[in-house]
Symmetry: C2
Subunit: 399 residues, 2 copies
């Protein structure tokens, strides 16, 4: 077996997600299906039926390697309206953003190449890049993301093949990069001739009116990766890469080499959903639901967790990153919480290096729980945490 | 960019296939859609509609990494009935057999590892394996495939990571390995501890009643790769790997790393089609159509091509491998034929090494032409070939 297979331990994350699948478990682990009540379920079904009726022939054939024109056009329209001017010919459709990351690695990396990366970062990025045997170099971050002076040093010292980052509603930390930082990072990487891979799966799920320009909109050297899994559904298996000529050509070759094109049916249904008259209202209601749940979560962590826990309220997306009091391990908390049928993902797997906070942090994801369940779940976690700290329950103490 | 990208020339094959797409072109190039008239078009539409009606929720979620149980069970049933006893838990579903090859390479290969391979071999295998920087070692073949003594030497001398072969209706040559050869090759590889990857996309498309046991049915060390693209349609994007535990686990990790699971909708529709009461009759009519076209092709090459062309009649599948007279280049013939709106794939891209026959061979694929068009296309090729040879047209000479 290849080295990456031999070094991959039985997936702890998979075990947690498997446990989370049980109905009576309150899950903050995320990673599964979107809440079905928040999906365009009927419209999705109708979109598929329309494609089946329009042309049964289409569903029998291979797709163009770059993706069907109808979908590339729809993606370009939505991106242009909201985040970055995009031409359909700059888009390559992929099997979710996971495949986009795999194909970018395949296109760029030679064994031993360096990727400059945030740490913590997305599990999908770590699992997509690892089989290509890169060296991950973590760029120190603050509440906006990569620190410019540190990135500058990494670019100079390590000559990374690319910089991978999430500028908006970062997973797992929930943070968003400000405009000034965006401009400086884009300028720095452009001057160094190092492409940025900007991966914003939660783009569009902001709680406030204004949105920030993507790095891609500041420079066409940036490779932008997006997905419909977080706004429509992971069942569509549709993601994309926006990039310039040579990157697109390499990704197209990758598609031919790894899957011979994406399902035409899924692509055409996705195109109809993106351009559906209800699409914007749907995203609006998704945002409203997430905002309400995030409010409930923030209230719950404030009232139910003992002192010493810290967090930063995110501007969008379903994730809250929590730091536990000194000396408490997120893994120990998970064990106790699971006994109370409550789960989350501990911080450790999101880090690519030994990090002082890796044992002490965890991610709370509100994709799969109502506000009531969120309150109840955090109350259970608070109880477990007090057990670990040896602190009595405040209410019980007072009563 | 990675080395494989920089070394991949603008795809000549893609250009030919693009040219072949025009309506007035007679194409023996294959590689595109199955002939729609030969697909279960109505049943496919119905299968999708059934899944949409049964559970709209299902189409919104991620699949299990190994594939949906319903489909793995259906694949195991069909394989067990026809070619090799298979348990559903030995099956991993992939995005077509192309992804199966990518994931096998990803699971096994370290840069510089050797793959023992037939030459010529499938274009999909070459494009899937190349990005992993393997060393291809061609095992000399006869009309049944790899020669045992040569394979023995390659196993000893090169210690390949795996042996890749097509035992039945080989692409591009159309040949099939006899039972005795199968047994010897399986025994040899088992003794050497080298896994065989047996990739039989055309399994089931034999022109005769009896079928040979797959190598997989002779040893569970063999990894078997199959696909629905040649019997149902490439639009389903469904293929599979059958293998033992550690291989399956590595391929599952690969699925998580490269695409986060296959479309549930496509999987469930595929399951319904495999178990559809019309499925066997459909495959039967596909075989009958291919047999009729292959007869027409064989008659055409006998009557329309000048002396010095050689070929071997295949026992199944849509491909005929043709050797041109000494000194004639298949590329030159292609250029002339394209002027007459007739295309095929020259042999060169199917070879992984310099080979005395690589310029002189070509593949004729009957997937996309009726018997009438086949006769007409080969007549045009014969004309071009006589032009190249400087031989007058026999009929014109006689008249």
């Amino acid at each position: 077996m290849a080295n990456w297979v031999r070094h991959t331990k039985p997936s702890f994350v998979s075990e947690v997600l498997e446990f989370a699948r049980q109905d009576d478990v309150i899950s903050f682990a995320g990673g599964q299906t979107l809440d079905v009540r928040l999906c365009m379920t009927e419209e999705t079904k109708e979109a598929y039926e329309t494609v089946l009726n329009e042309s049964a022939k289409d569903i029998l054939r291979y797709s163009q390697s770059e993706g069907e024109e109808e979908l590339r056009r729809a993606i370009a329209t939505v991106l242009t309206e909201e985040w970055c001017p995009t031409h359909k010919d700059d888009v390559v459709v992929t099997n979710g953003s996971q495949q986009a990351l795999d194909l970018i690695a395949k296109a760029f990396l030679r064994p031993g190449d360096v990727i400059a990366i945030e740490s913590p970062t997305g599990l999908g990025a770590i699992s997509a890049f690892t089989p290509y045997h890169p060296l991950f170099v973590a760029v120190p971050c603050d509440e906006e993301g990569m620190l410019v002076s540190h990135l500058e040093q990494v670019l100079r010292q390590h000559r990374p093949r690319f910089v991978y980052l999430m500028s908006t509603f970062h997973n797992p930390t929930g943070r968003t990069m400000g405009l000034e930082r965006r401009k400086r990072i884009v300028g720095l990487c452009k001057a160094a001739g190092v492409p940025i891979v900007e991966h914003n799966s939660y783009e569009g799920l902001g709680f406030h009116e204004h949105s920030l320009p993507t790095l891609r909109s500041l420079s066409d050297e940036v490779i932008y990766v997006g997905s419909l899994s977080k706004t429509l559904s992971p069942g569509l298996r549709i993601g994309w890469i926006v990039g310039k000529g040579p990157v697109r050509e390499a990704v197209k070759l990758g598609i031919q080499a790894t899957c011979q094109g994406i399902s035409v049916l899924n692509q055409r249904a996705a195109a109809k959903l993106l351009l559906h008259p209800n699409y914007k209202a749907h995203v609006g209601s998704l945002v409203a639901a997430y905002a309400e749940r995030m409010d409930a979560l923030l209230q719950a962590v404030r009232t139910e967790l003992p002192e010493g826990c810290t967090w930063r309220s995110p501007a969008g997306g379903p994730n809250l990153w929590l730091r536990l009091p000194e000396g408490v391990s997120a893994l120990d908390l998970l064990s106790l919480s699971m006994e109370k049928n409550t789960v989350f993902l501990p911080g450790r797997p999101f880090y690519i290096e030994e990090h002082p906070e890796s044992e002490q942090t965890l991610r709370l994801n509100v994709t799969n729980a109502s506000s009531e369940r969120i309150m109840e779940g955090i109350a259970r976690m608070g109880e477990s945490l007090r057990q670990l700290l040896g602190v009595p329950h405040p209410v019980l103490t007072r009563s």
